[in-house]
Subunit: 403 residues, 2 copies
Amino acid sequence: MSKLMIIGAGGVGNVVAHKCAQLPEVFSEIVLASRTESKCKAIAAQLQQTIRTAQIDADIVPQLTELLKEEQPDLVINVALPYQDLTIMDAALIAGVHYLDTANYEPLDTAKFEYRWQWEYQQRFFDAGLTALLGSGFDPGATNIFTAYLAKHYFDEIHELDIIDVNGGDHGHPFATNFNPEINIREVSAACRHWENGEFVTTPAMSKRARYTCPDDVGTFNIYRMYHEELESLSKHFPSLRRAQFWMSFSDQYLKYLEVLKNVGMTGIEPLEFQGQSVVPVQFLAHLLPDPSTLGSRTEGKTCIGCIVRGTKDGNEKLMCLYSICDHQACYREVKSQAISYTTGVAAMIGAKMILEGKWRKPGVWNVEQCDPDSFMEDMNRYGLPWKIVELDPAFHLEIIPS
Amino acid sequence: MSKLMIIGAGGVGNVVAHKCAQLPEVFSEIVLASRTESKCKAIAAQLQQTIRTAQIDADIVPQLTELLKEEQPDLVINVALPYQDLTIMDAALIAGVHYLDTANYEPLDTAKFEYRWQWEYQQRFFDAGLTALLGSGFDPGATNIFTAYLAKHYFDEIHELDIIDVNGGDHGHPFATNFNPEINIREVSAACRHWENGEFVTTPAMSKRARYTCPDDVGTFNIYRMYHEELESLSKHFPSLRRAQFWMSFSDQYLKYLEVLKNVGMTGIEPLEFQGQSVVPVQFLAHLLPDPSTLGSRTEGKTCIGCIVRGTKDGNEKLMCLYSICDHQACYREVKSQAISYTTGVAAMIGAKMILEGKWRKPGVWNVEQCDPDSFMEDMNRYGLPWKIVELDPAFHLEIIPS
């Protein structure tokens, strides 16, 4: 019997609220808070169970602290913007509340996310006897746990990791981004970094691609190597890794749009002086694009996200794949969200459950792969994110497309 | 010995000022006026001859009238925005000044240009004993005069007209528009209209294209049928025309950018509410794109603009082509502008010369094809727009690319 506060009422916040409200034996009381309380009320109105809502500006620590002290939840789930991780962590520390998020901190004015800022809270959360669980979404999140699960049960030592994130969904718009477009575009425009022989190697954005056929008839896609935040924590926590790469699928159409919008300056994050006003180009672009929250009802197809791990077991080379497939329309029927928000939100709910049930409650700041993966993996099968493990021929390699 | 006022200090205004200043025997005194007087001063500083500058808001008739009355020029050349044609015509009437422009009036809030608004000034200019010469740029302008010249000297009757505007220039930017980007984009996004059997036929924008090889090694290009304002006046003034079409070249890259920018809503002309401000998307796009005035120094290649006319002479079918080729870098060396502004500005200067020398001075509102073309054509050869006439095999037809 625990009280939960969720901050953020976007696509992921919607899923977290739906899934947590389905488990009153764990989350007996829920408060959903956002800058725009009407969005919280709209979500609350869809639920069978009663939850409360609140208005909060997650940029302002004193406001956050006051709300957390007043409500005294056991745990706060942060599914607001990544810019707001630190303010919510500060407030959780002051108010004495456990903390969970799904994406690491990124300063508002530089497209550079890293765990450093949040890892620096380690001593303070430890001293306060509070748990801060970082990156408990799908990727990062489930992908870290997949890696930990394979390392624990199938290998003596893991050497190579390829995380593959395929979205085979089609929303029918010429161009739209699946979640906050500003973050989406910043992610894709950033230079690629991958882990190789003890250091991060930087290559131009989207410069390495492969052709990948997903299991279970999801389809064949072009996937592009890019930086993704779990590479930072996984390369640290699995020091035996000689190489770790992250790949994401993008359609030719999506990339064409992105190239044009970037080249004309529409993805810029610096404010420009325009007709005596200050306008941030990417924010104006986001304003023009379809609201990601409207994509759910029209998106068809599946996501397939998983990890391919190469390593050794009993002296032999071994290659394993652990993946989860999610159907956009099935997600929409259940929680009125497409699979991108669904996979993230369900994993956040399970992470919260792990903390509140005491399984992952330990003072300090932790990435999910530092916790025992087994209970989380069991809950994935139970709450909508079923997964499969297959052993691959060690001769298998991703089919790189020459550039 | 005449006094001239030029309103507008963009790319075309720059060329008009340069070319008129080279002819003090015709334009003995020149005033260059613009909303931003510093742009006028920057142009004036480039000239060997002394011209004066002034500040004017061309949207405001009383301000225009006051300036024209104070300066008492013989003629005002309007190379401001097409939105400002009527205010400048109003002021010219009040102040008793002849008028010339290069592009017809278009209301600010609808992408619909037509001569109706300006033709309605016919009686007023006639009564005032003043000449208003409309569309004396290159296209419209030289293209109308080419048609009139061919009709006068080579045909008994003309039946088909294809105006072809090829810009083979390359400025090296991924995307930029050659003049005011807002007008450029409005033009290309508009539905196509062409004249056929006594009426305008509307087809979707950019839906008909042809492959065209320019004369004199300018190159081979994809040209697209589109509406262009000279079709309205030419179909009226040459009633024997059974078909009149306008074609413009666009690169695949340009069209890709335009498709994307249009589909995401960046070419919209309606103001949007954004963060409590009012933003017109296409104006913000124009703000992001390279300033057209900076393209000149980096543009290489040639333009080739001309008319192919089919008709009869002495009972036989006949096909004639009259065209002019202009080199971007040669234009830049002469007047610090690329060929798009150059061809328009030189034609405006020659039209002004025709009025001031009395050759085209007749009370009323006139399109250039209503005046005798011979003197204008002679001056084109003299002042930087040399042209050629070739007879084509009547079996020649534009090579349409199936869609």
